[in-house]
Symmetry: C2
Subunit: 345 residues, 2 copies
């Protein structure tokens, strides 16, 4: 490939046509229906394209086509590997459909989320996947009203005028606490908050349900609230746990996500507690760092990649299938028992 004569702008089909001595339409045919072009002409055009270093202009294609060849995922917290794994699942599906994926990060801030959405609408993306800060935010309605295919990931909304994909969080809470009860724990902390997050509420609800079913006293399932689902908050929860009078102090903690659990684990180790002997810990999500912790964390596994793949499948169905009907896909979480609750033999 020779040096493209870059006088500022990139070579266009027109330039290629001139170089190959054919018409613009023929170049387009070479690109889009090569079968219709004679071999000799096609080769000449292809050589010209290579010579000039021609690359299709996606904006022009889009303008012409009326829609872009891209999906978008707006994630809630780029610092949480969980969302990265979801994004990978989405990308796999997007790739298979020959679509690009734009990944945005709202960092939990509604105004950033809204800004990203604005941009994505300007880009005319084919569909938007989102894990929103607030599932009932007005700007989400907006997306649907514009007729843009739209799937909520890892969240359910009350309205339900769209698809969503998530695990059964109540069940997740149940299996976590059931596991702890199985291991003989009679006093358990639920670490998590804020309550404004639906999943926190549901995981707690599941925990309470199974606790009651086993006939255990309500006051022995202690809610230790946090302000966010972060490692720092997990540490601070650890301090509060340590501050409880010893007869109230739980022997196990179920954390609303793995970041909290990692923070709690760190506090426990620093405080000289043995995990799981003095304090057993269960997390939620089963991010890779859970298994990688010094004391590998027991966690409630979400099928992270599959959540993403399914969400992408749904948004594509909405985009292409006129008979699409909204679907609330629910996955079943599974407990992955590791050393933070099970002493090695």
């Amino acid at each position: 490939m020779s040096q493209p004569s870059r006088n500022g702008r990139a070579p266009s089909v027109k330039d290629v046509a001139k170089a190959a001595g054919v018409s613009l339409g023929t170049v387009s045919n070479v690109l889009n229906r090569p079968a219709v072009v004679s071999t000799i002409t096609r080769e000449r055009v292809e050589r010209a394209m290579a010579d000039l270093g021609f690359v299709r202009n996606e904006s022009a294609r889009q303008l012409r086509a009326g829609t872009s060849r891209a999906l978008a995922y707006v994630m809630l917290d780029g610092g949480n590997p969980f969302f990265h794994d979801v994004a990978e699942g989405i990308e796999t599906a997007a790739e298979a459909a020959d679509l690009s994926l734009f990944v945005c990060n709202s960092n939990g801030r509604p105004e950033r989320e809204a800004k990203h959405i604005d941009r994505l609408i300007q880009q005319r993306v084919q569909g938007i996947l989102i894990t929103p800060a607030d599932p009932d935010a007005a700007h989400l309605e907006e997306i649907a009203r514009r007729g843009i295919p739209f799937v909520m990931v890892d969240r359910f909304s009350s309205s339900g005028g769209h698809c969503s994909v998530a695990v059964d969080d109540v069940l997740g809470g149940r299996i976590a606490v059931e596991h702890l009860i199985d291991r003989g724990h009679q006093r358990v902390a639920f670490v998590g908050g804020p309550a404004s997050i639906g999943q926190v509420r549901e995981r707690l609800q599941g925990a309470r349900a199974v606790w009651a079913e086993f006939g255990l006293p309500e006051e022995d399932l202690i809610h230790v609230p946090t302000e966010a689902l972060t490692v720092n908050e997990g540490r601070s929860a650890g301090e509060r746990l340590a501050g409880l009078p010893s007869r109230r102090r739980p022997t196990a903690a179920f954390c609303a996500n793995d970041l909290l659990a990692l923070g709690l684990l760190q506090h426990a180790v620093t405080a000289g507690l043995r995990v799981p002997d003095d304090l057993a810990i269960v997390g939620f999500d089963d991010i890779d760092f859970a298994a990688a912790a010094a004391v590998p964390l027991t966690s409630v596994r979400q099928p992270r990649q599959e959540l993403g793949r399914t969400a992408a499948r749904l948004v594509l169905d909405e985009a292409t299938n006129p008979e699409h009907i909204h679907e609330q896909a629910t996955f079943v979480p599974a407990l992955v028992a590791r050393a933070s609750t099970v002493r090695r033999s």
Copy 2:
């Protein structure tokens, strides 16, 4: 805002003009130079835009403008929080310049990297930031040859025909090992590989240099090679360390990144070693999970966000300043001492 009469396509400036009873040019003026439009007309147009739910079509703008309003970052390993933090730094700078940022992930695979780059060129992004799998890959040259502003992040290339941003890895290796020598260690492992990664080589080189300067015997700095910079490889390196005859066994390990260090830490704890008493550990990057580990990890800190911000600054300079000259920005790493090398008092 009333229901936009969606008969398939989104409303255009033309639709707005018709609705407002003005010409297309006036609508455009409202959008781009509102000062030039009379208040009364402007308000009428704005009402029409709101009524119709008009949103600019970015493709058309781009086509007209000849260039997009976006930067792109192709990262090497989305699963490593280090790159996420770099991306955040880039996004901060992009945001300030009112540009979008496309984040792609090559996952270390050159063919995925090339595919992403293809797409980005088609999108006519204003500039490409990349942490490449191979800094000398042919498709990188290609970017520069097309005249697309281009910055290498966290890597240096041999050719040097472009900007790059990285920390001084040799120095990083020095301060890590100097810290260990300070703490009295006389037999130290360098855990890292493959050697094809320039930074691994340089960190080792720095380690060796300072080791020699202190007059310590070469064979007491033991290279434990790994096949990748992952938690798993860190664990496996731990096993190999444990397998060394005790008089050869190091009392400390310097890992080429934090993921390795976390894996090594896990193995050590599982094997019943006390950290740092039996084995001190130093990582590299200082990702958040390093500080969050059960035994907080000492690590060589890279200014992750600042790497990103600087890279973005450079690519924007190349994009806008005709007198741009390529720059190799080098940052100074700093040791962050934590419990994995310093026993708590």
